[in-house]
Amino acid sequence: MRLPPSPEERIDRSRTVTFFFEGEPIEAYAGDTIGSALFAAGRRVFSRSFKYHRPRGLLCCSGHCPNCLMQVDGAPSVRVCTAPVREGTRVRSQNVLGSLDRDLLAVVDKVGGPFTPVGFYYRTMIRPRRAWPYYERFLRRVAGLGTIDKHARRSSRFDTEHRRAEVLVIGGGPSGLDAARAAARDGRRVVLVDEGLALDAQLPREDGFETIAPARAIGIYEGGLVPVDAGDVLLRFRAERVVVASGAIEQPLLFPGNDLVGVLLPSAVRRLTRLWSLRPGERAVVITADDRGLAAAEDLRRAGTSVARVVDLRTTQPAQMAARGSHGRVRSVSVDGDSVDCDVLVMSGGSQPAYSLLAQAGARVEYDGTRGIFVPRDLPPHVEAVGSAAGEGARGAAAVPAASYRGTESGGRCFVCICEDVTDKDVKRAIAEGFDSIELAKRYTTVTMGPCQGRLCHLPSIRLYARETRAEEATIGTTTARPPWAPVRLGLLAGRGHEPAKRTSLHHRHKELGAQMMWTGEWRRPHSYGDVAAEVRAVHEGVGVIDVSTLGKLLVSGPDAVSFLERLYPNRFGDLKPGRIRYAVLGTDAGRIMDDGTIGRLSERDFYVTTTSTGAETVLAWFEWWNAVWGYDVSVDNVTGALAALNVAGPRSRALLARLTELDVSPDGFGYLDAREARVAGVPCLLLRIGFVGELGYELHFPSPYAEYLWDTLLERGADAGIRPFGLEPQRILRLEKAHVIVGQDTDSESNALDANMSWLVKFDKDDFVGKWALEHVRERGPRERLVGFEMANGTVPPEGGQIVVDGLPAGRVTSARWSDAVGKAIGLAWVPPALADEDSRIEIRVDGRLEPALVRLRPFFDPDDERLRA
């Protein structure tokens, strides 16, 4: 039922929109919100309360309270009073069993009182512990804020946009507009964002600044970062100056029955009557502490609601007030024993500046005793508050008489916090239990922690607190304001589902060959191409090729390159001849192993350093840091992505290479640990003769744009030699057969080079190097544990991380273990007590609860004298 058309109304009566509520079609006008259309259709109960399942109706019509939350097209907790109607939208109630009007869970309101006191969830239902999952499921069912449809397809896409502004104005009310205009006149780049809920007036689109609406600032973070929820786009604003014009929020009054359906704040009256031409009810009572209530009385009269009584708390101080209802709806109000029938009760406890964003930005919030409100003070330099957000014109309920807080004695519940169903009794009880700091009481009672985020309960709860503890509001203070200031959809925060991944130039070739890909750090790498054993065999018997482009690659050059590397690494490089390579382990200043790789000398002053796949960035940063500290004349360049790298390994790798290059690849011409530059299949390569996988092999490093070409050429020309690509898993088996260590797998952040059997890499006679002092200390105290090889007596492969057990006690751990066809045994690496670090020592390893015997091995399991590797 609508009132006669008015020029002010926002509905277009010539256009109707149909949506569905609980499956039933509802007809609305264009310009309606879901809330106004449901109200027009006669609906008064919009939700059931969080704990007691009490019926709740429109309260603020401004998007501040929890009373109109519904599921809209699958999205839970949408405030329908501000959600525009759209054709075909499906709307459902939430947190009910049955229907909104007959919610079976309302029984909690009848019997629950004694069983669900404040903080009950901290005390009851926690024993027996076993039963918690059931309790949890039960609680989730009866309390909460809608359900997420886990199977729903993404209904919309969410994007993130980065924006800049010299001045960002939050709020498009009169003060916000003034601020925006003034800044624009000063020649600033100004953007104004408005929630678009100030439906009273259409925001003017003005020259000189940009207006974005509906858009809601959800927080102010460090550095002037302001995320703005603009529907399906999250705008991440960085602003030099932020002007907060977020206005003030109308406050409720505390009296028994203050949550009944039909109890309205003045804004609800204004919007229902003016924007949507709706009559809020037949007979109204107004209780107000400010002029807003009086204006609401006017609006009501104009809408044809008779106003039976207006109580102005500034002039009368009633000793008792209470609302009574039936079926959750207000039926009468009694003031000092004088009862008046009504179906609408307007309450206005004044207005409180919406200071939360300011407080997040670092403002202090102070109680102004004369006006009875909290006001923001000491704003940080780049933040400004204007209008009622700054406290202008706002006025609280300082004049509200004590009687209005005299709660439950006069029957019925008096709600301090409607989001969380916290009554005055609950707050008093919390105080009696000793929660006398407001921060603790907040956590205990959960006041201010619901969907309204303190908009309607912060001020009343603190005032009640002050009264009950006989303290001044000012000394009680406020609770910490944290983002988000408004509920925000997780999808919007998550944005698009792209995860940065590094892929080598051969990624698509691997996929074409059916490789199973796996993550190693940020990299995607082939685990294998389907037949691990065959891939291992190819490397042992013929030739295999593995993509090692992920290796970190650094060029270190300059006159001081030798000094620089010698000071960084425990190893020596001054005596490394150009064209030669050395294995190197990088340590921290505490002597711990940080990374490993090879260092090849390209010329007197040029070195080529490889790092682990996941260590490149860390090592680069480490190099740059020390270079800056020491001030050497050295430059470091990260050429990881510039170069692809292939390891061609196996007894036939030499013959294959000879077909593709003019380089002398004979054992004398190109020996183990030599580095050469030459063209391979026409592509300029740096060739390193090293052998992580233990067979004769060459690493080819070359410009990445030619990776597919060279890969294809190798596979083609090696086909008759049985060439096979191999993945990480075969590589791990091959290197384990040689007892080659993988840093990060066989070592951890505590391991040092001495304990890891790499003392041959540590040159204590050098002047100084990073970690020298710490390693000298380790040498003096002797090893605490040693990294050794082991082979299982009976072929069981123990789990990585498995326990080494000595005399029934854990004494070490397995770091790597695999079955090796070539060795014919289950082999691995493990940390063991030094006393057991001898060839043939017997150890026991826990496998599935059993102890399995194993023997310690100090030499490689396969080709212990490196004859094949050096062939």
């Binding site: 980065h162 698009r496 792209h498 940065p500 360049d637 170069l643 026409g682 390569c685 744009p705």
Partner: protein, 159 residues
């Protein structure tokens, strides 16, 4: 040794014809107009002060380091002119051009009025240059598939 193994522009040799392939080739296969692959641009890292030879662009990416951009065919010449402390990074960086501020704002948290600058694009480190409505983005090529997918997706979101 010469560091020839970093050179990208190759002539056929020894009977082989090496084929260059852009890291973005696959990712941009279905790219809408306005998104272009610039991966073949010549890119050099120079340490210390840089004088700009004719026909090149110099972007200072750190106090002591610059990215020099030139035509692929000119890399050899420019490398010679820039002196010793130069590394050919042509293969290390992929490059693409996008059009429109709005698209760029969905890709990067950068002040678009203060370009060129270094910063994150699609969450990976990048250098961005601006020519009117066009933005050139250079980033580590190993992220090419990722950045290509993000750019196409963002463009689709605005279409």
């Amino acid at each position: 040794m010469s560091r020839d193994f970093l050179a990208v522009e190759l002539a056929p040799a020894d009977g082989f014809e090496p084929r260059w392939r852009s890291p973005l080739e696959r990712a941009l296969r279905d790219a809408p107009p306005g998104i272009r692959d610039l991966s073949r641009t010549g890119k050099l890292h120079v340490h210390g002060d840089v004088g700009a030879p004719p026909g090149v662009e110099v972007v200072r990416v750190a106090p002591d380091r610059a990215l020099v951009l030139c035509a692929a065919a000119d890399v050899e010449r420019v490398r010679g002119e820039l002196g010793e402390r130069v590394v050919d990074m042509s293969a290390a960086l992929a490059g693409l051009e996008v059009r429109g501020e709005r698209l760029m704002r969905r890709l990067a948290d950068l002040d678009l009025d203060a370009l060129p600058a270094a910063g994150a694009v699609a969450h990976v480190p990048a250098t961005v240059l601006r020519d009117g409505d066009a933005f050139r983005i250079f980033f580590p090529q190993e992220y090419a598939d990722h950045v290509g997918a993000v750019v196409l997706d963002a463009a689709a979101g605005l279409a």
